[in-house]
Amino acid sequence: MIIAPEIVARTQFAFTVSFHIIFPTISIGLASFLAIVEGLWLKTKDQIFLQIYKFWLSIFAMAFGVGVVTGIVLSFEFGLGFAKFAQMAGPAIGPMIALEVLTSFFLEAGFLGIMLFGLNRVGPRLHYLATCMVALGTLMSASWILSANSWMQTPDGVQVQGGRVVVINWLHVIVNPSWLYRLPHMLMAAYLTASFLVAGVGAWYLLRGKHLQFARKTVAMGTAFATILIVVQVFLGDILYGTMLKYQPSKMQAAEGFWDKESQSPAPYYWIIVPDQENQRNKVAVGMPWLGSIWLTHSLNGRVEGLSNTPRDQQPLMGMVFYAFRIMYGIAILMFAVGIATIWHRLRGTLFTSRPFLHVLVWMSPCGVIATLAGWYVAETGRQPWVIYGILRTADAVSPVPGRAFLATLIGFVCAYTMFMAAFLYFALRIVRRGPTEISIHAEASGSLKNALRPHVIDNPELARR
């Protein structure tokens, strides 16, 4: 049997990168959350914050661990699966990722050990510094990798010479046209993910009448963050939409589900389509009338551009882009509704007692992860058939490796990653089930602040514990 290397190589990359992004999304969000919580603990000396910190730290540690090992794979996979991409784009992408490793991976790794195991050895203040450094590392990492990916979406600052990219202007490569909008969009996504996780777990305890103090604090924090963030996110998403419409029209054309050069006026907003790429039409299209014009053109009777504006050999597959976009957008609407409900319950003082609302929070806890994944599917499948938009086609980037080898390793990855995910979910859910009181609290807030400034006590556990 002949297996087309291109298909399997792409499947393998899609699988490994999709799996990977789940964990950084969680750890970027949780790292900042942990920094806030530890700051509150140091400021108020309220033990509940230390309890929240310890609880979420144990889940953060696992997410971070899985994120690290699945991330190492990616830094080699550019060359393993897509050697011709690596050869062509290495001069632009490579240095950015090298700087990512230097400025963020080492920062995270260097301070993670102290964050996880060092509270008694360095004292609360230096420990807080370590938490902040890990959080900063996750943010810088996101910044570099979004820069590299955005360059693939909207390449700038380079010339192609002899089949290779030569950088003319680094500033234009790094601050390429879409990076400035995509980075905050991703960061908000990570923060929303963490907010809904934190609120969801708290709501689950409230529904069971357990760990009430912990649960109230985390539900209050999670919903408050989520309410603010979703407003910012909708705003950012709208700006990004406009930017991508300008630089990568084919992606947004595919995302809206219209084929004709111009849609009817007023345009509906499609929710369900069965696209027929072959004949450049939809077999089925169900939508809400008028809404397309209003949302997409910000007018009552505006027309929306369809995918046939893009030459056929440069079109992405509409179905993938459309449904990924609908999932992301649909979840954003749900999140917005939760934000409104939060304000409503806050004003009425029923945030911790409304059981329907708490049930919604529990069900919404994984929604940030799903929306983020869907968003990345819009970005990546919408860029096809290009790997570097307008410069290199994905089909021309594949390594000279036989399809069978790709298939064998893909099976290996699926087996290993399935085990990682099963173990992660099993242990994370077990931590949640056992509750925050099972997590031992090692350090006392009162009095030990001084110890951090006196290094000799670190060597003396008796003193340090005092």
Binding site: A61, M62, G65, V66, V68, V69, T70, G71, I72, S75, F76, F78, G79, L80, A83, K84, A86, Q87, M88, G90, P91, G94, P95, I97, A98, L99, E100, V101, L102, F105, F106, L107, A109, G110, L112, G113, I114, L116, F117, G118, N120, R121, V122, M133, V166, V167, I168, W170, S399, P400, V401, A405, T409, G412, A416, F420, A423, F424, F427, R430
Partner: protein
Amino acid sequence: MELPLLTASFAALALVFYVVLDGFDLGVGILLFFRSEQASRDHMVDSITPTWDGNETWLIMAGVSLFAAFPIAYAILMPAFYLPIILMLLGLGLRGVSFEFRIQMKSHRRCWDYVFACGSVIAAFMQGAIVGGLLQGVEVRDLHFAGSVFDAFRPLPLLCGLAVAAGYCVLGAGWLFLKSNQLLLRFAVRILRIATCSFVSVFFVACLAAVRVQPAISAAWASHYLPLSIVSALFVVLAIFLGSTSADTPPLRPLLAGTGLFLLGIAGIVVIIYPNIIPFQLTLWDAAASSASQKFVLIGVACVAPVVLVYSSYAYWVFRGRTPAKGWSE
């Protein structure tokens, strides 16, 4: 133009850091196979838990430096070592998640310990296989890999895989000698002797095999007779020292001597393949990215790497001394 030489030196330095630092991590992982009591295995893993992540980051640094500064070489080597690299990555992955998952288990922790040990063996062996494959030679046509994905599993790479796995055991035992409590001290001494013997003998056979299969290596011996002889002599001296470790040896010495063995091995390889980046095929200058990319990486390295070294050393300093009996967070 000396830029490629500078970036190559940095990539090589990152690789040296990786081999030295993650070498003992992987070694400790492999040695888990040889301890049946849970308490000992917990203690061994505890000794590397706070710092393993930073150690592994040097591998990414080395790989990404190659990608950034020598994309042509990167694009040839990744497909050439497709299978061993992916197996290594899977091994490292199994090992990495075991750190987090094993502490969640009370009763069946043993299972994760075996996953941990297997991952360590696979990763160590594959790293050796990659080195062996490089020495044997990579088939290149028009700046693309033109060989078979199984080239990395010929006899020489397999021998090198064994050698590196045994060598990492030496480093791992050296680490335990420095960091573990009294109970494991005698274990570390025993392993130091056995692993050094195995490492040196496999390494010797691999050297002979390498000279046989790759004529360019004998040519390199002929033209660099003096430096290679000095490296070999020092190697033998250190190996004898390691083989005679006893419980009274100062704690840091075996680890340093083991590290010395690896440094000498790497130095020998560098002398043999320089100025090529893909041995006997492509020089550093042929494979380099344009100078804009080289400069960007070098400026980044010059500004950030010193800071990285400072706080990474600090992270080691925080967890200095012998590993506490109940782990670091007590």
